[in-house]
């Protein structure tokens, strides 16, 4: 337990000092996205890596948070600090209601149902033009403001987003080491055995689905207020798959793994600019290679690889 806290403290200090190390405007902007994607990957990981329940529609919850925040602060001129929790509660509530029937499904059927859910949300963003602005998007979303500081630059946004991301990480780390976290992992390994021991699997799955949606919604709101513009293209099926890739590549059931996966998949496109149209092929290839050669994800695979290299060096 003490070791966990030390690791988290070191990690937080590293995150907070990072802007000093990598100054340079454009990179800061990318690192803001790393933070948002880390939150999203953790949200999906709580559901997939811990409880073992897949969702191919998480981009939808991300989008709902972004649009609700955007609409409430533009059309209804609400304060962003009120709009964000309001959006999160609404999305959590919606996920809870939808979760009850669809989490009865297992495996491929649950994948199909969540896929459908994501697509429906995406269509709503596109078609309810008077509300969302349709395909051309929703502009003019205000920046967040705290104690006179307006979060309108990349460096300020970096601290804003990473403040939230670190809080989500700590929250999730606590959860994973608790009786609830253990029960979720138990459901993952054998739902029937967990039930026999008194775990209300059905309720717990719905709770974690709703929590996962709430975190995704929060990430969406933060995205809307830092970008000041949202459009449906950011919340499509492709992005749900990208989130899934982050979680699997980073390591299922590992909070730091989600950070690694989100970092890799956010930075990778920057390095793959030249191969622009082929990035989805590269993602697919990466996912296949990871599943074949590093099924535990980067967070477990890298230490193994490192030990192998050290051993080889020792032999030669």
């Amino acid at each position: 337990m003490k070791k966990d806290l030390l690791l988290f403290t070191v990690f937080s200090i590293f995150i907070m000092l990072a802007p000093q190390l990598f100054s340079g405007g454009y990179l800061m902007n990318v690192l803001v996205f790393v933070g948002i994607n880390t939150m999203l990957a953790i949200a999906l990981n709580l559901l997939l890596g811990y409880a073992g329940q897949i969702s191919l529609g998480h981009a939808g919850f991300f989008g709902l948070g972004a649009y609700l925040s955007g609409i409430l602060t533009t059309t209804y001129s609400l304060n962003p600090w009120i709009a964000m929790p309001a959006a999160a509660i609404a999305v959590g509530f919606l996920a809870g209601i939808i979760g009850f029937p669809i989490l009865k499904l297992k495996g491929h059927y649950l994948a199909m149902a969540t896929l459908g859910l994501g697509i429906i949300i995406f269509i709503v963003f596109n078609e309810t033009i008077e509300l969302t602005g349709g395909p051309s998007g929703l502009p003019g979303i205000p920046n967040l403001e705290l104690a006179g500081i307006i979060f309108d630059s990349d460096v300020k946004n970096y601290y804003l987003i990473w403040g939230f991301t670190l809080a989500v990480m700590l929250f999730s780390l606590n959860l994973s080491n608790s009786r609830i976290g253990r029960s979720l992992r138990a459901i993952h390994d054998s739902e029937v055995a967990a039930q026999v021991l008194g775990v209300n699997a059905r309720l717990l799955k719905v709770q974690i689905f709703a929590l996962s949606a709430v975190i995704s919604s929060l990430a969406g709101s933060l995205y809307a207020h830092t970008m000041t513009f949202v459009s449906p293209a950011s919340f499509g099926f492709n992005f749900s798959i990208e989130l899934l890739t982050m979680v699997v590549i980073g390591g299922l059931g590992s909070i730091y793994g989600s950070f690694l996966g989100a970092t890799l998949l956010t930075l990778l496109p920057e390095f793959l600019r030249a191969a622009h149209d082929y990035d989805i092929i590269i993602y697919g290839g990466l996912l296949m290679l990871m599943v074949m050669y590093m099924p535990g994800g980067l967070v477990r695979g890298i230490p193994v690889l490192f030990r192998k290299i050290v051993k080889k060096k020792g032999e030669s």
Partner: protein, 251 residues
């Protein structure tokens, strides 16, 4: 303790159980035996709330628990183990037993995530409780191993330790000796007697006749979905009907 009356289960057109009734006395070790396909596991799945029966009722300590889901039965102090041990393979041995303490703890999702002060003391209580049951079953030295890496016999003991952590008043064991060698089976017999000595009522489905005859106070024999007879191990061994059911009739 447990009263089963007129349980009938029909799968499609097949009658797996046909109006089976018996009652189990508090503090006894009761064996449910019968040839393959007699309906033993189906009966267990119904009593433990995994299947819904077509007809019949189950009374637990006088209370009608017919159709209650397994998680509710755990709160009423009834727990079971599985024929093909159902461990949480990716978790450690200690964590497996800690899940067994679920009904004995109450911190909710948000309290755990925010690490409220009371969750910390509860966590300590859960850990200590789990350690106690690992000591009871003699696998405390494996506490930090991954459950999925255990040999089968140890896995069986872990499953029992995990079930005991629920602090049941009745435990159902589905073929606890299946897959164990003779040494392990002897250890299991001792363990089951020690569980009974804790005041826990034990019901087991078992094929190992030596074990059943050695430890059971009473035996219920099923054949082709019906109760063939019920009695002490001695009565069962001497019954021509039971012998016929197992060895086949000459006619």
């Amino acid at each position: 303790m447990l009263e089963v009356s007129a349980i009938t289960q029909i799968f499609g057109g097949v009658t797996a159980l046909d109006s089976v009734s018996f009652s189990i006395k508090k503090g006894d070790i009761t064996g449910v035996i019968g040839p393959n396909g007699a309906g033993k596991t189906t009966l267990f799945n119904i009593i433990s709330g995994i299947y819904q029966q077509s007809a019949g009722t189950v009374l637990l300590e006088g209370k009608d628990v017919t159709g209650l889901p397994p998680e509710k039965l755990a709160r009423l102090a009834m727990v079971r183990t599985f024929q093909n041990i159902e461990l949480f393979g990716a978790m450690t041995v200690l964590e497996n037993v800690m899940v067994g303490m679920h009904t004995k703890s109450s911190s909710g999702l948000l309290a755990c995530a925010l690490k409220m002060p009371w969750t910390i003391s509860e966590e300590r209580r859960i850990r200590n409780g789990a350690i106690k049951w690992l000591e009871f079953t003699g696998i405390i030295d494996l506490a930090d191993h991954t459950a999925g890496s255990l040999p089968f016999g140890k896995g069986r003991l872990l499953e029992i330790a995990r079930a005991l952590a629920v602090e049941p008043r009745i435990i159902l064991m589905d073929e606890p000796a299946a897959g164990l060698n003779s040494q392990e089976t002897l250890g299991l017999a001792q363990l089951i007697k020690r569980i009974r000595d804790l005041g826990i009522t034990v019901v087991l489905v078992e094929h190992d006749m030596e074990l059943v005859m050695d430890i059971c106070d009473r035996i219920v024999v099923l054949n082709l979905g019906k109760k063939l007879m019920e009695g002490t191990p001695r009565e069962i061994q001497e019954s021509p009907e039971v012998i016929a059911a197992y060895l086949g009739d000459d006619d």
